[in-house]
């Protein structure tokens, strides 16, 4: 199937917001989503963006039943490893269910890899839920390492009250 990958622009935020929700539903965590289309516009497309996006688009003749032609996306940002230096973090990677198995996810990830390498990054990091076997298998086939399994590194979060408490001497 024909598809194209390109940098996201302001007009894409509506579709990205829609797909963020779809991905969170797939991850069974949709009650967590607080970000709105407006947040994405401000945070991704101002002078100092907090993230970058790429979208996958299909031609009109392949649009979904609901009329969407933007059928996949990835959100990423530049991060820093005190061991290796410049890194790229792939925050989201998503392809709508009816468009899977056609190499679109691979193409999106490859684009993030390309952009990261061009920016001088030494590695690409991301997280996956342990029960998401099809994704884990896909990533392992691309040469990724499970750092949680290999090095015992756990992702931690400190938010709201906990963050206030952390700030108490």
């Amino acid at each position: 199937m024909e598809f194209s990958i390109r940098a996201a622009n302001l007009e894409d935020c509506k579709d990205i917001a829609r797909m963020i929700l779809e991905l969170s539903e797939y991850e069974k965590l949709s009650d967590r989503v607080k970000v709105t289309q407006k947040d994405l516009e401000q945070d991704g497309f101002s002078k100092n963006p907090f993230f970058h996006g790429i979208v996958a688009e299909v031609p009109e003749q392949h649009r979904t039943a609901d009329g969407h032609v933007k059928i996949g996306y990835s959100l990423y940002f530049y991060s820093y490893s005190s061991w290796k230096g410049r890194s790229v973090y792939m925050e989201d990677l998503y392809v709508m269910p009816e468009f899977r198995g056609k190499g679109i996810g691979k193409a999106l990830m490859s684009k993030v890899a390309q952009l990261g390498l061009a920016a001088g990054c030494k590695q690409l990091d991301f997280t996956v839920l342990d029960w998401n076997k099809s994704s884990v298998d896909f990533y392992m086939s691309q040469g990724c390492a499970d750092i949680t399994a290999d090095l015992g590194l756990h992702c931690m979060r400190c938010e709201g009250d906990a963050m206030e408490r952390l700030a108490q001497p």
């Binding site: 947040d39 993230f51 991060s79 990261g116 590695q123 997280t127 839920l129 029960w131 992702c155 952390l166």
Partner: protein, 166 residues
């Protein structure tokens, strides 16, 4: 000994920052993983678009470490984005030299970080670092790997290049 100052890192600090990065990596039994150089730290932290930010703790000369260092703690962080909740603080490294622990430096650094006005802070801890995990959990941190099943994946430069060729 309450005599220390916390300040933003400056270009001249990169040598001490790299030293402390290596000390922390040694504590984590990952010393051989550090390939970062002073040049990288300088270019990446003090250019037009810094990849990271850093606070350092400095003691007066008369309180210097056994080896003669006056920069004795640091925190390296940057801002990330969670499409569910928005801007986050990511704490990449957080370290106080052993001889300077127990004087509140760590807590003061965390207080400074909490003043960046992000609603949430993320970081990574090795599961065998039980004292650090206890420190954070006592203060309300959640272990997302254990509680929600999130696993951190990484792909290195060589495999990234292969991926872009396919």
């Amino acid at each position: 000994m309450a005599n220390f100052i916390l300040r933003k890192a400056e270009p001249n600090d990169v040598s001490d920052i790299l030293r402390m990065i290596k000390e922390l990596a040694k504590y984590e039994e990952m010393e051989e993983q550090v390939i970062l150089t002073e040049k990288d730290l300088l270019e990446d932290g003090f250019g037009d678009h810094p990849f990271y930010h850093c606070f350092v703790a400095e003691v007066p000369k008369e309180k210097q470490s056994a080896d003669g260092f006056t920069l004795v703690a640091f925190a390296m962080y940057y801002f990330t984005y969670d499409p569910w909740i928005g801007k986050l603080l990511y704490l990449e490294d957080f370290y106080v030299m052993e001889e300077f622990r127990g004087f509140g430096m760590g807590s003061h650094i965390l207080k400074l970080l909490s003043e960046t006005r992000c609603s949430s802070m993320h970081f990574i801890v090795a599961e065998n670092n039980t004292s650090s995990i206890e420190f954070y959990k006592r203060r309300g941190a959640s272990d997302l790997s254990r509680e929600e099943g999130w696993r951190l994946f990484s792909i290195d430069k060589e495999d990234l290049k292969k991926m872009t060729k396919k």
